[in-house]
């Protein structure tokens, strides 16, 4: 029986998908006014559990008790009526709506079935500013940055006045300042008695905010820590069932290892006074052979737009790009692919994956383009496709039933690995990675860092754009700091402190 403080209780939940047991007897309880973190490796079953609570999936077996009432399964509308609001891992806001519309989501009718735009805009503006969020309510969602969309999505959950708020990796595309903002929102909700389930791969965040942590591994609960016992190393050992070779958070060892077998050569790419649209005003940096160059800046500082302008996926309004000593103009991504430049975009759903393609078709796409004449003629090389897919699965430890699995059946982190896998084995000379470790668990991050190092030692140059400073400091050789569309400083990571970088990025 649920005690009066237990607002949600899940008992022995089991969920089977074809060929996969995603949850195997998971029990979980959420108390009123508690912030309960749910952590685990990619594919551990976190999102599946949340979707069961949101009424999206029907559990194969198990009981769901919410506010004292027990159900075998919920539906989205029952979940909503029970006061459950969910911020899903993948963004669900619609690009063509305005910010205000997205916030109101289906509740836009006022009066006799007509939309009162004026009223809606005013309410939205007031609500957003009460949260401390500055979003243009009349603009379309499509014009927002990915971080702003994420914040909008969170605001929408708060707007529903739910008393159970679930957030599935809300910070995966947020930078520090926005995370802080989010934490204030969360604390505020908590003080109003709202209960929160918080999923994240950023364990330092979990430690900072959670009252209780439940750890999942392979669909089972492997650990439960209460406030006071929460310790990152312990969480990690419950998560992965093994010790990681570097200690999460401190990266001395990795830094040492980093310079073994490395040789940084001469300049290979140079960007001078690049201008592109409103977001990129004056960007200058150079990349050397075998170097891992970090790009850091708060969200909206113009990193993504810079990278897109370089590869020919964004317009270039000024400046020069010099590749191997020659000024070039890449008219579309095809030409950059042909010049052996690979690009991992930050938004896997809209720019990274083809959901009608299976895993191996997704992974082989850029390689096929490169090997084809004019990017089109030639046979589909089945053997090569199979080989690319299996090495990606093995090296990135993609959790999948097989090489021809549908990508939408993979967990978020595993989808991200597929996007990285597309380029990792495509023989690129320059790899441009935009937030590549978004939504990837600590163990797999290590795997990816190691792979990037391996590539760099083999002479490949890497541009690593990230809003997570610790990983830049750990992995990169130099870091270029962006601030409001300009490159404001370049540092050698071994002789710079976090504060110096942050100061350059924000002032």
């Amino acid at each position: 029986m649920a005690t009066n403080t237990e607002i949600v209780k899940l008992e022995s939940i089991r969920k089977e998908f074809p060929g996969v047991v995603a949850l195997d007897g998971v029990s979980f309880s959420l108390k009123k006014g508690e912030i309960h973190a749910l952590v685990g490796e990619n594919g551990a079953g976190k999102s599946t559990l949340i979707k069961i609570l949101a009424g999206i999936y029907t559990p194969t077996s198990g009981k769901i008790t919410v506010k004292g009432k027990t159900y075998t399964h919920l539906t989205p509308s029952i979940a909503r009526d029970l006061g459950i609001a969910v911020v899903h891992q993948e963004l669900s806001v619609i690009d063509t709506q305005t910010v205000a519309e997205a916030l109101f989501m289906g509740e836009i009718t006022q009066g006799a079935g007509f939309i009162s735009w004026k009223k809606m805009n005013t309410i939205s503006r007031n609500f957003l500013s009460s949260l401390g969020l500055d979003l243009p309510v009349q603009q379309s969602v499509g014009s927002l940055t990915i971080a702003q969309k994420q914040l909008l999505e969170i605001a929408r959950a708060v707007f529903q006045n739910a008393d159970i708020v679930v957030m599935d990796e809300p910070t995966s595309s947020l930078s520090e300042a926005e995370v802080e903002f989010l934490f204030n929102v969360i604390k505020n909700l908590k003080s109003k008695g709202v209960s929160i389930i918080y999923i994240s791969h950023r364990l330092s965040e979990v430690k900072e905010i959670a009252d209780e942590v439940t750890v999942l591994r392979d669909g089972k609960v492997t650990g439960n820590l209460k406030r006071g016992e929460i310790d990152i190393d312990r969480i990690v050992s419950y998560m992965v069932g093994r010790k990681l070779s570097f200690k999460y958070g401190s990266h001395q060892e990795f830094r040492q290892k980093k310079m073994e077998n490395r040789r940084i050569g001469s300049e290979i790419l140079k960007v001078e006074h690049l201008k592109s649209g409103k977001k990129v005003k004056d960007v200058t940096f150079e990349l050397r052979e075998g170097e891992i160059l970090g790009l850091f800046g708060v969200v909206g500082s113009g990193r993504t737009e810079t990278l897109k302008a370089i590869i020919g996926a964004g317009k270039k309004d000024g400046g020069t790009i010099i590749l191997h000593g020659q000024p070039i103009r890449l008219r579309s991504p095809y030409y950059s692919v042909k010049k052996d430049i690979g690009f991992v975009p930050e938004d896997r759903r809209y720019e990274g994956l083809i959901f009608t393609f299976n895993l191996s078709q997704n992974i082989s796409l850029p390689t096929f383009v490169k090997r084809a004449i004019l990017g089109m003629f030639g046979w589909v090389e089945k053997k090569l496709e199979k080989m690319l897919a299996s090495s990606a699965i093995e090296k990135l430890r993609i959790k999948t039933p097989g090489i021809d699995s549908r990508v939408d059946a993979l967990s978020g982190g595993n989808q991200q690995k597929v996007v990285i896998g597309k380029w990792l084995f495509s023989n690129s000379k320059i790899l441009i990675l935009d937030e590549p470790t978004r939504g990837i668990d600590v163990g797999a991050k290590e795997e990816i860092y190691n792979l990037i190092l391996e590539l760099a030692s083999s002479g490949i140059s890497v541009i690593f754009s990230s809003s997570e400073l610790p990983e830049i400091l750990m992995l990169c050789d130099r870091v270029v700091v962006f601030n409001a569309g300009r490159t404001v400083a370049t540092f050698d990571v071994d002789s710079v402190t976090e504060t110096e970088i942050l100061r350059a990025a924000t002032t």
Binding site: P18, V337, P345, Y350, T356, Q361, G375, M376, V380
Partner: protein
């Protein structure tokens, strides 16, 4: 759960085929004249044009587009081909240039306009539909063309070793199209564009080039359909193929092609075309009045596509 999953898998693969077989069964029960070798052969021959334009449409819909001009391309290529033959060009050159070649050219015009203007394919090919029809009416002066060598009709509407030539044409075109879509990189890229154009583009797929290729193939296959159309009617009619875009779209969609792009294949489309062929044939055999035929076939098309959709979805949650 597991049973539903199995069901969904089977349905996804063989759904359209099951629908076709059920239709055949029903019609056979309703009329003794349906299930005879002669009539079934007739159905296949009657469906051959739908199969060709269905494959034409498949190319367009795979890219998440549509081609409304297939019927007009049939008429225009048919007319030009007949005129060329009448002018003494010889059958083979006329077929290659005036039929297939011109079809490809008209398709590539659609494709280029779509790629360059970035207007919706619906608009561009709607324009194509009227413009190509208009040109046909101008060059034929609105009259059918018969005065070409009768040999042509014998070749393309006759038989070869007992097999009706339309079926041979469809087999050849179908095999080539199937291999092209499934086993070449160009085909793979066409699917990629339909699946997620942005992701495909960022992976280096040349979107515009592939759009042009897809619409060119669509036009080419419509040109092939014109061969059979002209030969079977024994004339190049200026109004030939009017309204055929609907049969083309229905064939692919019944065959499991997704309007959102990226999903669909040749075998499905062929079966989809047969479904239409069976419906049309059955309505004739059962003596349904022509006016009612349209109503019934429309309803059956909607029903088939809907059945396909819900049955596939059933195993998914």
């Amino acid at each position: 759960m597991l049973k539903e999953e199995l069901f969904a898998r089977i349905w996804e693969r063989f759904g359209t085929l099951i629908i076709l077989l059920s239709l055949i069964l029903i019609v056979s029960l309703l009329s003794p004249y349906f299930f005879t070798v002669d009539n079934l052969m007739q159905v296949v021959v009657q469906s051959s044009i739908f199969m060709l334009i269905g494959m034409a449409e498949l190319f367009a819909i795979l890219t998440a587009g549509i081609d409304l001009s297939v019927g007009s391309i049939i008429a225009l290529t048919g007319a030009v081909m007949a005129k060329m033959m009448a002018a003494g060009w010889g059958i083979l050159p006329s077929v290659l240039v005036g039929g297939i070649g011109l079809g490809a050219l008209l398709g590539s015009i659609n494709g280029t306009l779509i790629a360059v203007t970035e207007l919706p394919p619906f608009i561009i090919t709607l324009g194509g539909l009227t413009v190509y029809r208009g040109i046909t009416l101008v060059i034929t002066e609105g009259r059918p063309i018969y005065n070409y060598p009768y040999e042509f009709n014998i070749i393309f509407a006759g038989q070869w070793k007992g097999i009706p030539s339309p079926i041979l044409v469809v087999v050849i075109a179908g095999v080539i199209t199937h291999i092209f879509l499934k086993y070449t990189k160009t085909g793979r890229n066409i699917y990629a564009i339909g699946g997620n154009v942005k992701a495909a583009w960022l992976s280096g797929v040349r979107v515009k080039t592939h759009l042009i290729v897809a619409y060119t193939m669509s036009g080419l296959l419509s040109g092939v359909a014109a061969l059979i159309m002209v030969a079977r009617v024994a004339a190049a009619e200026p109004l030939a193929g009017t309204g055929y875009e609907l049969f083309a779209i229905a064939s692919t969609v019944i065959g499991g092609t997704s309007f959102f792009g990226g999903i669909g294949n040749v075998p499905g489309t062929i079966i989809g075309a047969l479904v239409i062929g069976v419906i049309n044939n059955a309505l004739n055999i059962l003596n349904v009045q022509t006016y009612y035929q349209q109503i019934v076939s429309g309803l059956v098309i909607i029903g088939t596509v809907y059945a396909n959709k819900i049955l596939i979805r059933r195993g998914e949650k």
